[in-house]
């Protein structure tokens, strides 16, 4: 009974219910929404956000934020695509280590700047958001890299046809989620990320390597954005210096905060973020079916970020209040 109550009261439950209710309503209005074809659309919509959100989640749990994920995605995608364009003989799978490595380096640059100069991560990554985007332009000569240069096996990884029921990019996203779950809950470093975000002042007193943990979360966030970058090339078959990953950071952050990760650090779960991403995916997929123009999407993301922040803050303040009253009652 108690266990059931605990499950029902989990924050993730709220998001889960929201997804069910939303899908039910849309399904009643437009039965096509729940058909297999449409579900597959959703399935192809979410992997990129899902992968980047896992990295962002760790950064936010450590009480930082990474605004540069969209630009990192763009840069990694562009560099990988350029490599394929200039050297078509390179096997497509080598693109993965390249993209991930480039992303990790960009993430490390964020982390080092935050640590060395003691600046708020949000300002640093606002700067690198534009810096990395600009580098993408310079590297590409402002030209899009078109379909013919992206290796076919790479494109096939996100092929959307009944013969490929489960496209590779979905499988990769699932693997990343499982790894993130393992990392966050079952490794020393993962738990240190939670500890750092939960009480940064106490972390050094308890022997937590603050610098290493901070660098690690930024590097992971960058690496996963890089992975999302090469998958972008796979999914869309082109890489454009201005469109690729533009505004992506807001979707990722929206997913993370809806998923119940607290911007005050220390709180957040992989399951919550997965549900957050799915909820956003459902909303994105439902809009065109409902005849709502796609332009509404970014307003919705913005609103969702604000609402999630407000909910997070109220939950926290109520928690603090409860704490002081129990103390008061004892005195």
């Amino acid at each position: 009974m108690n266990a059931l109550r605990a499950i029902l009261l989990r924050r993730e439950m709220g998001i889960f219910v929201a997804i069910i209710v939303f899908c039910a309503i849309v399904g009643i209005l437009k039965p096509r929404f729940l058909e297999l074809d449409n579900l597959r659309v959703i399935l192809l919509l979410v992997p990129l956000i899902m992968i980047a959100a896992m990295g962002e989640m760790l950064v936010v749990i450590a009480r930082h934020v990474d605004l540069s994920v969209g630009s990192t995605l763009g840069f990694a995608a562009m560099m990988t695509a350029l490599m394929f364009k200039l050297h078509p003989e390179i096997p497509f799978y080598l693109g993965f280590p390249v993209a991930i490595g480039i992303g990790a380096v960009l993430g490390l640059i964020n982390g080092i700047t935050v640590i060395v100069f003691r600046l708020p991560a949000i300002i640093v990554t606002l700067g690198t958001l534009y810096l990395y985007r600009g580098l993408t332009f310079i590297a590409s000569g402002a030209r899009q890299i078109d379909r013919q240069f992206i290796p076919s096996p790479l494109k096939a990884m996100s092929a959307n046809s009944p013969s490929y029921w489960l496209p590779w990019i979905v499988i990769i996203a699932v693997v990343v989620v499982l790894l993130a779950y393992w990392f966050a809950n079952h490794t020393r470093l993962g738990r240190q990320v939670y500890a750092l975000g939960s009480n940064p002042a106490a972390a050094p007193l308890r022997g937590i390597p603050v610098t290493a943990v901070t660098l690690a979360v930024f590097a992971i966030s960058g690496a996963l954005a890089g992975l999302a970058g090469i998958l972008y090339a796979s999914r869309w078959g082109f890489v454009n210096p201005s469109n690729t990953g533009w505004g992506f950071e807001f979707q990722v952050i929206a997913a993370v905060v809806i998923g119940g990760v607290s911007i005050n650090g220390g709180v957040g779960s992989v399951l919550g973020v997965v549900l957050g991403v799915l909820l956003l995916g459902c909303v994105s997929a439902a809009l065109p079916l409902l005849g709502i123009p796609g332009t509404v999407q970014s307003a919705i993301f913005g609103l969702v970020i604000i609402v999630a922040l407000v909910i997070d803050q109220t939950v926290r303040e109520r928690g603090v209040q409860a704490l002081t009253t129990t103390r008061g009652a004892r005195a």
Partner: protein
């Protein structure tokens, strides 16, 4: 790590330990041996040096001079983690924790070594945590998050941490202050058992009764010196209090012949759950009323409530015969209140701004009658204050952070005098100030009262209260426990009211 050789060799021997912060020496040449398997109390007034000494043992501070030996071997304890590795644990009054992690994780965190990707042994971790909790005889679900645990339970987790790392020296800094009598009993039971296992416990407390119940030996600190170490059985309560406060009274006395006028501030049944309850007193014009008690007794909370920083939940405040509600400092200032707060660095000064801006911060109407700042007025006000209070500075445009602590404090006092307050609340006004400037402060406070201001003086320094005040109120654990007129006030009488006797049921005056 365990070392059974030479049982009479002390676990820790400290020799000539001194510690200075800036130029102020807070600990002077302390020699102290801690034996194996004893509970050793450190006693002393606030600021006597006992906590500093404890923190040196635990690696929080490093001594300016002196040596420490562990089991006869000289050691240097650079950091709290190094102390932990040597088997020394300090349990803070407000325990350190990671509120979002589980109890079991909090127990383990920072102790285990291994690669960053080493697996977290959840099951063994929980089993070990449960074993420690059972050992301590407390019922805490080790899988729940720390957030929301009572202070007592958080302390138990800290003690469990100490056990888990097999600490040989456990320092408890005023552990009983936030506990209920029953929790105190549990804690004492555990402490005795740990002693019987051969561990050493250092116990810092103000409660003589508890010290007598629990401890084997006591060491008394005063003004940064170790005064005495003896078996508790050899000392009476009277002896201990005398040793704690035995210093000559200062000669700064309140100027006599001040006429005490009508009531300026009246506080009735002021309560704020968890901080203080049912506080009632009166403050008359020309009167200096002291508010004594131990740190954490709720004195500052009362001041903050009166000044509107953190308004009380119930009770009434009357100023000059009119009942008022004060929800913010700006209202309080409008009603003629002024509050020199206890932590000057955080809630007093604007570090990087000029002395002039700091002094005139509370009187916007005077320096800018129509909203535009009149430089000449501001400068005159500030330089007059500087002259009157003898603030030593190079220039009015100097950032206040460049002044000494005493002069900063004078500038803050000057800020409030410009508002021409009828009631002035001074919260530890002379803390961290050297003796020469202190004397000036005492004179000023006397003059202010003579000028008809009503003054509430919060102080932990007994001589200060005795020398300056017409009456001394004493708080203990959130309640007023005494109202002692000047004639009857002695260090002993104040101490007696301040030290909580039987843990929670504070004796009314």
């Amino acid at each position: 790590m365990t070392d059974a050789s030479a049982p009479d060799l002390p676990l820790i021997s400290a020799r000539g330990i001194s510690k200075s912060f800036a130029a102020i020496e807070v600990l002077r040449d302390v020699d102290l041996d801690l034996r194996r398997g004893e509970i050793h109390a450190l006693l002393g007034e606030n600021g006597a040096g006992k906590s500093t000494f404890a923190k040196i043992l635990a690696g929080v501070h490093r001594p300016s001079r002196g040596t420490l030996a562990l089991n006869g071997e000289p050691v240097e304890i650079h950091t709290p983690i190094a102390a932990q590795r040597l088997g020394i644990t300090l349990i803070h009054q407000e325990p350190i924790s990671f509120p979002d992690l589980s109890v079991a994780e909090n127990l383990v965190l920072g102790r285990t070594r291994g690669s960053p990707l080493a697996p977290v042994p959840w099951i063994e971790m929980a089993r070990e945590a449960r074993r420690l909790m059972d050992l301590l005889g407390v019922k805490i679900d080790v899988n729940r998050p720390m957030r929301g645990l009572s202070i007592a339970d958080q302390q138990m987790v800290e003690i469990a941490r100490a056990l888990a790392s097999d600490s040989r020296l456990i320092i408890m800094d005023e552990p009983t202050a936030p506990l209920t009598p029953k929790e105190v009993e549990t804690l004492f039971g555990i402490a005795r058992r740990l002693r019987n296992e051969g561990r050493t416990i250092v116990f810092i407390s103000h409660r003589l009764e508890e010290v007598r119940q629990l401890c084997d030996r006591v060491t008394i600190f005063r003004d940064g010196n170790k005064i005495a170490t003896d078996d508790i059985a050899n000392l009476s309560d009277g002896d201990i209090i005398r040793l704690m406060i035995g210093r000559p009274l200062r000669e700064y006395m309140k100027k006599q012949g001040t006429t005490i006028g009508e009531v300026a501030l009246k506080v009735e049944h002021l309560s704020s759950p968890g901080l203080f309850s049912d506080i009632s007193f009166e403050l008359r014009k020309g009167e200096i009323v002291g508010l004594g008690g131990l740190v954490g007794a709720g004195r500052t909370d009362v001041a903050r409530a009166i000044f509107g920083v953190a308004p009380a939940q119930s009770g009434t405040i009357t100023i000059d015969g009119k009942a008022v509600t004060i929800a913010s400092p700006s209202q309080a200032i409008g009603l003629g209140l002024a509050y020199v707060s206890e932590d000057r660095a955080i809630s007093g000064i604007f570090r990087t701004l000029s002395v002039e801006e700091n002094i005139t911060a509370a009187v916007p109407r005077q320096i800018a009658p129509q909203g535009v700042i009149r430089r000449a007025i501001a400068r005159t006000l500030a330089s007059d204050s500087v002259r009157k209070l003898r603030i030593r500075l190079a220039s009015l445009r100097q950032p206040i952070g460049e002044l000494s602590g005493g002069n900063q404090q004078k500038a803050i006092l000057a800020r409030w005098l410009l508002t021409d307050p009828s009631v002035l609340i001074l919260d530890e006004p002379t803390r961290g100030i050297d003796i020469g400037v202190k004397a000036e402060f005492y004179e000023m406070i006397g003059d202010l009262a003579a000028g008809g201001h009503a003054i509430l003086l919060i102080s932990s320094e007994l001589p200060e209260l005795l020398a300056l005040c017409d009456r001394v109120l004493v708080m203990s654990e959130g309640r007023l426990t005494a109202d002692i007129p000047r004639a009857e006030a002695t260090q002993e009488s104040i101490m007696r009211a301040a030290v909580p006797r039987s843990s929670k049921t504070a004796v009314a005056a």
